[in-house]
């Protein structure tokens, strides 16, 4: 069937594109991390995936940015190697706004690599309480080289693990589709009393449970790198584990009946009930508690800033691919159950 080929093709595409496309150049860290007002410093910037030697030193511009209109431009830029670049800064004696310290962003503009930014990279400490814009202005951050190529965004904290977006998130989409299919067949069973519908509902639930486990495992792998530990009692982790328990209970319920019709009817009822309880578990309760997941405040999914167009080109095909694979798995499980019936002469 065409959709099985499509699912395999899309998954292969998601795995190859997801793993092979490089990240955009970024800044890992800068040194020193603290500067004082009025100081002359040499700032060393350590890049990631960067090719600083591909341009002349005077073409590379480095800023220490205070806000939209205030920044200091680095002088005497020197390239040490592909991932290290230096520039000297004359720090102003005052700060544009009141305060004793400020976190400055580091921005590097490179004609080949494009722009890279490290937010709040350098702490600027003030000796006086003077508010002056002297030295901050006349360094407009403009004429930036915006490079459009095939690469994924560079994000601090998650780095290369951003690729997990293509495997972790589609699991939940596939799970939702599988459980939706399962609940539709359960409703159909209650109307038709046809055992085939029940078998399809079970097959979908099995596929959905598999995706749930995979989603949990990929999520734990990701959490291990991004949050520091595989299981951090994040409310979404907990609720997902509970949701999977609901469906494990479904299988125990099925196996505790002697007559197949009775078991099918009651487990169909429980399946509808379980699906309805999945909605508060996955979409209402997580909003009430703080979560480490992106977009935790108010929204269960991630925000629009977390995906760029290159990522969308892999993300959406991956969702379709894994969902179709789930459909295929469910079909195989359904046929297996049918063959078992023939073998044991139940039909």
């Amino acid at each position: 069937m065409w959709w099985k080929t499509l699912s395999v093709a899309l998954i292969i595409y998601a795995i190859t594109a997801g793993m092979l496309v490089p990240l955009k150049p970024g800044i890992t860290y800068v040194s020193p991390g603290v500067v004082k007002s009025g100081q002359d410093i040499t700032l060393r910037v350590f890049g990631y995936n960067s090719f600083y030697t591909k341009a002349r030193a005077d073409e590379i511009r480095i800023w220490l940015q205070f806000d939209e209109s205030n920044a200091v431009l680095g002088q005497k830029t020197a390239i040490l190697n592909d991932t290290t670049v230096e520039a000297s800064f004359q720090m102003p004696s005052g700060m544009p706004e009141k305060g004793t310290f400020a976190m400055l962003n580091v921005i590097v503009d490179h004609p080949v690599d494009g722009v890279s930014l490290l937010p709040s990279a350098v702490e600027f400490r003030l000796d006086t309480t003077a508010t002056s814009k002297a030295g901050w202005q006349d360094n407009p951050i403009e004429q930036l080289h915006i490079v459009k190529d095939l690469s994924y965004p560079y994000r601090n904290v998650i780095y290369e693990s951003i690729r997990n977006t293509y495997y972790h998130v589609p699991m939940w989409f596939a799970l939702m589709f599988m459980f939706l299919g399962s609940v539709i067949y359960s409703i159909r069973y209650l109307k038709s009393q046809h055992l085939d519908d029940d078998k399809k509902a079970v097959a979908f639930t099995e596929a959905g449970l598999l995706f749930g486990l995979l989603g949990l495992v990929t999520g734990m792998l990701w959490a291990h790198y991004a949050w520091g530990s595989a299981w951090s009692n994040d409310i979404k982790q907990l609720m997902t584990a509970v949701a999977l328990l609901v469906y494990l209970a479904y299988f125990i319920l099925r196996s505790s009946f002697d007559e197949p019709e009775k078991g099918a009817r009651l487990s169909a009822v429980y399946n509808i009930f379980a699906f309805a309880s999945l909605v508060p578990l996955l979409y209402i309760v997580p909003r009430m508690f703080a979560s480490l997941h992106p977009g935790a405040e108010g929204s269960p999914a991630f925000g629009s800033q977390d995906l760029d167009n290159t990522m969308r080109m892999v993300f959406y095909p991956s969702i379709i691919g894994f969902s179709l694979l789930g459909l295929w798995l469910a079909q195989l499980r359904y046929r297996y159950a049918k063959i078992q019936d023939v073998l044991y002469d139940i039909d």
Binding site: L190, M239, V242, A243, L245, V246, A249, I252, L253, S256, F257, D258, K262, R265, L266, A268, V269, Y270, I272, F273, A274, A276, S277, V279, P280, L281, I284, V285, M288
Partner: protein, 219 residues
Amino acid sequence: MQALPLFFTLLRKEFVIEFRQRYAISGIFLYVFSMVFVVYTASIKVQPQVWNILFWLIVLFASINAVVKSFVQESGARQLYYYQLVDPVILVLAKIVYNTILLLVLSLLAFGAYSVVAGNPVKDMKLFAIVVLLGSLGFGIAFTFIASIAAKANNSATLMAILSFPVIIPIILTLLRLSAISLRLIQDTSYKRDIINLLAIDTILIALTFILFPFIWRD
């Protein structure tokens, strides 16, 4: 019979059965008191945080034990008799109302006994009363529905626990949060949203029960 008189007749029947089989209800009450006493002997000085969690655990376990008999205690022959006479929705509604009242009494008794032995850290009595009422309602609806499924299976006591716990978690998390607010353990002025969440969950559960119960009870 009209729907309303039928409902009251069925509700009365539940009370009469309970009154005739006093050992069941006495057993549950004794169960609550034993649990409270276990908590007391295990930890003499109960911190408000622990008080909150333990109170709801006692109510949760007592509720499961109180509701599980709801469908098991009536024989198959009598179920068949009801099947010919009454509308399943009214029957299950009577059971839900009865179980909610039972659980409310149970939680109030548990609260009384618990505050005697472990002290009463509740600061906002009005809110706490609302929380207990909402808790009894939520448990009453969810456990009645699960008990009706579990009663049909072979190992109903185990199934009751397995099937109900995952479903009850959103309810009990919200209850714990609300009751922590009434104990002034956390400050939150927007707790009305939690109450609305709880009522929304209750509404979903009761709607599902009305739709699905007719499929459960006929054999």
